[in-house]
């Protein structure tokens, strides 16, 4: 079974959860991955400083769209401060695989737009593995394929 394109990912790609529009969102943000043209937007409803509800919209590869769907329920109830602390590890845990460097931004795009909406930042989410990230990425890419 392909570790990336397994049923879990493909199901979220074909039947994305929490996709669509919210009426009167408290925060929203859109962005794209300039390398490949993946598009992602998010609308968020807040209760105090917690995410009460959110909806994604966009188009792109299976990884970008499925990741948004997979993290959407997990993000509900999180505070703004908690969202600020999320990084690449969170995505890896949620989708169950470390992404190769060629696909990392596909996986991070949905978290980026959520952080953009809540924190006003236009930075890519941070996070480094324990080992040398570049060496690890290359090794992973070679082993996986």
């Amino acid at each position: 079974m392909d570790p990336l394109y397994r049923e879990y990912i493909l199901d979220h790609y074909k039947n994305p959860r929490n996709f669509g529009d919210l009426s009167q969102p408290d925060a929203e943000f859109e962005d794209r991955n300039p390398l490949c043209g993946d598009e992602m937007g998010v609308q968020i409803k807040l209760e105090g400083d917690r995410i009460a509800d959110l909806r994604f919209h966009g188009q792109g590869c299976a990884i970008s769209q499925a990741t948004a769907s997979i993290i959407s329920d997990e993000l509900k109830g999180k505070t703004v401060a908690e969202v600020a602390g999320l990084d690449r590890r969170f995505i890896a845990e949620e989708i169950g695989i470390e992404l190769s460097p060629t696909r990392l931004k596909c996986g991070l795009l949905s978290l980026k737009v959520v952080q953009g909406a809540l924190l006003g930042t236009d930075e890519w989410p941070s996070g480094t593995p324990d080992e040398d990230p570049d060496a690890a990425d290359v090794a992973r890419l070679r082993n996986e394929i």
Partner: protein
């Protein structure tokens, strides 16, 4: 012309040509590498790698300066590269300006000729199938000069709509800038016809030959262009070196681009005079090793015969068009007839994003490109965020196309598409 080129055959079997390319011995995912991303960059034959290596091992010195043996050898390699590349495209060496790539060639024209000749109210006419490198410099120029940027549109077959070209040219067009061969659609544009009509209206013509020179006979004079840019790395040569060809009388009149060493005749305290073309446009130490490698790449192409390269790739493209189009759910973009297009096939598969196609192909050892191909205005017109693209070189085979089609079928079964 196409009927004649169909008769040309490679002087050696494709397997022998492949043996010239060390990288093709690599295995990816336990399969022989099927490199179908030649539109992005071509692989390098051993002769090119060895020319670069030999320059550094045996002849490394700066050019235009010293009297010693190494300097003379470096100069001979650098100017030899210029002469070989001039021969390849029917130019005089004195009209070949070495730049880094086509992007720099176009920007050179933007900062010199265009600043003096495209003023407020003037128009730059480009096409909807341009690479960003032939769009963004003109957006910047037009903003700076108060000029207009207009587009020639593309029809459903991927051809330029030239129906109202003369009327549009008459409305103040100073420069027409277009690609010779589209990097997405593959379309071979009728540059000579467009040149004639542009000149009749008093406009100049710049042609982006990045995709053309590697795969078909190009005579820059015969294209009718005033400026013609192409790049080394797509024609089996090194990265970091490209060519701006220009008509000598235009190059002579143009102001310099970058100021510095090598481009001057005399430097006074408060002003300078310029060296003759092409040195006027080659400030600073140039890409000497790369010029040596580019000369070797020109020799490689001439040795195979460019008509034969074109015939081989056209046959392969026809085969790929037929096989890829036959896969259910596939949409192919660009002209349906391989005789009208360069050696590439762009496509989408219903229900599968091009990136996922490229990733799954990679797992079969088949390297293709997915994305917007630096042509976002064209993607908007095609109504897709991205396409997948297989692009061919002289070393590719029908077996590699078969492996691509197998990979598409595998992707479809994984996605249930």
């Amino acid at each position: 012309m196409e009927a004649a080129t169909a008769q040309a055959a490679l002087p050696r079997a494709v397997e022998e040509v492949r043996a010239d390319f060390p990288i093709l011995a690599r295995e990816i995912a336990g399969r022989p590498l099927a490199y179908l991303d030649n539109g992005a960059t071509a692989q390098k034959p051993a002769a090119v790698i060895e020319a670069v290596d030999s320059y550094y091992r045996n002849s490394n010195a700066n050019v235009h300066r010293s009297m010693h043996v190494l300097a003379a050898e470096a100069e001979a390699l650098y100017e030899g590269g210029r002469r070989k590349i001039a021969d390849l495209v029917g130019a005089r060496p004195g009209e070949i300006v070495f730049v880094r790539n086509v992007t720099e060639a176009i920007n050179l024209v933007r900062f010199t000729w265009a600043r003096e000749n495209v003023g407020a109210g003037g128009t730059v006419l480009i096409t909807a199938m341009e690479h960003h490198s032939n769009i963004v410099p003109w957006q910047l120029l037009c903003a700076e000069q108060g000029a207009r940027l207009e587009y020639l549109e593309v029809d459903g077959q991927g051809r330029l709509d030239l129906s109202d070209l003369d009327a549009r040219l008459a409305r103040g067009v100073k420069l027409v800038a277009l690609t010779h061969v589209s990097n997405v659609l593959g379309t071979i544009n009728p540059v000579a016809e467009i040149a004639e009509r542009a000149h009749a209206a008093g406009a100049h013509l710049l042609v982006d030959g990045a995709q053309a020179v590697p795969q078909m006979p190009v005579d820059v004079e015969a294209t009718g262009a005033d400026f013609y840019g192409f790049t080394g790395h797509k024609m089996y040569g090194p990265t970091g070196i490209g060519v701006l060809w220009g008509r000598r009388e235009l190059l002579d009149e143009m102001p310099p681009f970058l100021g510095g060493g090598s481009m001057i005749k005399q430097v006074e305290d408060d002003h300078s005079t310029w060296a003759a073309v092409p040195a006027k446009f080659e400030a600073g130490t140039p890409a000497i090793a790369e010029a040596a490698g580019l000369g070797a790449a020109a020799d490689f192409m001439t040795g195979l015969g460019i008509e034969a390269v074109r015939a081989h790739e056209r046959e392969l493209t026809a085969y790929a068009l037929e096989r890829v189009s036959a896969v259910p759910g596939v949409t192919v973009y660009g002209p349906a007839d391989a005789a009208e297009r360069g050696a590439l096939v762009s496509f989408t598969v219903e229900g599968i994003h091009p990136h996922d196609l490229a990733e799954l192909s990679n797992r079969e050892g088949v390297a293709i490109r997915a994305g917007h191909h630096c042509a976002q205005p064209l993607m908007r017109r095609l109504g897709v965020p991205a396409t997948a693209r297989a692009s061919f070189a002289v070393y590719n085979t029908t077996e590699e196309v078969d492996r691509l089609v197998d990979a598409l079928e595998t992707a479809k079964s994984i996605f249930g598409a």
